[in-house]
Symmetry: C4
Subunit: 234 residues, 4 copies
Amino acid sequence: MSKYQYLKEQVYEANMEIPKEELAIVTFGNVSGVDRAEGVIAIKPSGVPYHRLKIEDIVIVDLDNVLVEGNMRPSSDTKTHTLLYRNFPSVGGVCHTHSTYAVAWAQAIKPIPNLGTTHADHLIPSIPVTEVMSDEMIQRDYEHETGNQILDLFSKQGLSYEEIEMVLVACHGPFTWGVDPAKAVYNSIVLEEIAKMAFLTLQINPNATAIKQSLCDKHYYRKHGKDAYYGQGC
Amino acid sequence: MSKYQYLKEQVYEANMEIPKEELAIVTFGNVSGVDRAEGVIAIKPSGVPYHRLKIEDIVIVDLDNVLVEGNMRPSSDTKTHTLLYRNFPSVGGVCHTHSTYAVAWAQAIKPIPNLGTTHADHLIPSIPVTEVMSDEMIQRDYEHETGNQILDLFSKQGLSYEEIEMVLVACHGPFTWGVDPAKAVYNSIVLEEIAKMAFLTLQINPNATAIKQSLCDKHYYRKHGKDAYYGQGC
Amino acid sequence: MSKYQYLKEQVYEANMEIPKEELAIVTFGNVSGVDRAEGVIAIKPSGVPYHRLKIEDIVIVDLDNVLVEGNMRPSSDTKTHTLLYRNFPSVGGVCHTHSTYAVAWAQAIKPIPNLGTTHADHLIPSIPVTEVMSDEMIQRDYEHETGNQILDLFSKQGLSYEEIEMVLVACHGPFTWGVDPAKAVYNSIVLEEIAKMAFLTLQINPNATAIKQSLCDKHYYRKHGKDAYYGQGC
Amino acid sequence: MSKYQYLKEQVYEANMEIPKEELAIVTFGNVSGVDRAEGVIAIKPSGVPYHRLKIEDIVIVDLDNVLVEGNMRPSSDTKTHTLLYRNFPSVGGVCHTHSTYAVAWAQAIKPIPNLGTTHADHLIPSIPVTEVMSDEMIQRDYEHETGNQILDLFSKQGLSYEEIEMVLVACHGPFTWGVDPAKAVYNSIVLEEIAKMAFLTLQINPNATAIKQSLCDKHYYRKHGKDAYYGQGC
């Protein structure tokens, strides 16, 4: 039995949420999880359809993308995942999907404005979108640079990765993360719903404006921080 | 066995309609039911995903929000529910969801106009939307004040809660109610469908106008009041 | 055993397609079938949710709407069905739904233009929409007059009910019919899909025009009439 | 046992993906597969609903559309399939659907612009749309001419059928192909998702422009050609 069996199972379960929650079709999307003590991540193998995916197919690589265990190639997006793990030290899971409405906002190269409490329950600002990658970065090491695009965006805009666990990569789609693989996928589910609600809101009222700050803060802080009172406190 | 077992079962069943009818994702939404003789309500615990919810998780609180029975925290929206029960004496169940199209109208801060007989079968006027809550109310006792927003709206506009069993809270989402928890959820299902139909109608014809009064009344009164002839009369 | 058992079973099966094909929520919608030799129709009882509907609940009434057999009230739309049977002699089944996109076109009071071969496979002209009913007709005998609205439309526009087996009632929704209850429901399924396709087409290209006559005729007549070659010829 | 049993099974399985993936309602759509050594194709019979389709119903015809084996009429679109097989020598499967968003673009007579990496993962240019067929071609041999429309488009625009495995036929809907029937259906699934994403993107941002060439190429060539590194290389 693999010493990473527990991590593989966790990552397998999280990946299987993608088709169940309709966050991507065919082979698109991938979830990973990290074992910081061992210095490895577990990630979906590249191009495998979900209905054929098995726990033993999950690939183990270290944080420098070197294969540690597995018979299959890891996801082609692996370098984006590992760069995020190296720079976001409290993150335990990363999820990438091609969910329809989130991709549409990414293709429109528009941040998703915070229009209501469903959004405010999860983050205060708009869901940010990166710039389109430069030709130089594309030619260099594309998936690594995709991670850099995200890091640059958070750095330039002064955003906290612990407060904002989701981002749109321009012309591509969403990446989300969280304390573990299940939370990373949860954030992709929520992002897709927020993306759809924002789309519909602006169709109904093109002049709809962002939720007022006090109402936004109220919802965010009833779920986050020391005075949170949503959930079971565990 | 709890003396509230029957109420808990009723409320559990009503809550499980939310994911089944796709009225909210993950842990969003909550349904309650009241036992007026005992002076208590049963309500979903806060932040519990539906696929893990069990009958014994349902929480009993009194109408002043004091815990009566249960091992979990009640829904963070409990104070909205109890305020509605205290002011709407014939209501037996209350439902709150984040259903996609209803939320979009709430975020657009627009009442849903009555454009056809699907709407008119259930209520005569537009589905009303509250004003955005003032900063003072948000800071005070937010969930209690959410209930007050609803009560104020019905009072100012002279609406009957027995005729209009649904409302949109601005920038948030829908609340519905009815004679029992099942009817409250039924109204959330209907509201979501009406919200989607109205959205599509106005996309097809931005100049679509409200259904004429005589046709609206005909549909409403064939389902409501002493001359109703829809259904099995029981 | 009822002498109408076969008809009841056929009508029950056709009604159960409504929730399966998502043509209406909760209790909305109804399908009937006729036995011309016996002079009766079988129809869904009024206000019964589909998951509780049983074969023995199906109600038998004659073509003058007099109850022949059954313990429940027939659909409140029964008089519309019987009027169609009396005036459309080759019709064997009638279906009424509140399917979302068809209702949106009905509420927009716009005929659905024939924009492509999916539509042309089933009918040549636009899917017609009635006028809004006059106050006099609404007050008189509403469901009977709904049937009259359909008959008047077909008469005024010189339409053949055998060629055009679907119609939108303004501010209300679709009625469809066919040689038997199954074909009536089939037409409701097709209508909903055509309604959605036409909505999307005009969103993508507001200047999209009707399919050219020669292409429309080609598709219609490869499925209908003496030179048809689609299907298995039975 | 038929000597074409293996081909029939493959084609049956591919056809059954159409309802499962919601690419067409009722009897619409059809998939075929070719056995180049035997000079035959296997194809869905005309007008049979998917829930009644059996492996033995699959029809065998030769590349000149002559019936070789089967008790049912082949799909009315058979001549389009065979013409594509005769002119696209490396194609092993062809799929035709009436999937909703792809049909909407076809009815709008607009190519689907390449707005992001989901599209670029599969092809570089827009998804092309044919011209509307001339009256002469419609009268001649319609389904054969539908194939000719596709061949003319690829010839005039200098497109490679091996790089672009999907097309929209104006006012009608999509045809896709691939190395085998399963890949042909895969391309129909992907096309429908791309069509929906492009629709939503342009609703959110009507000024959204095509993905830049370098990013498009990067995604296309990480999945195609000698330097591909997506998937398991088999």
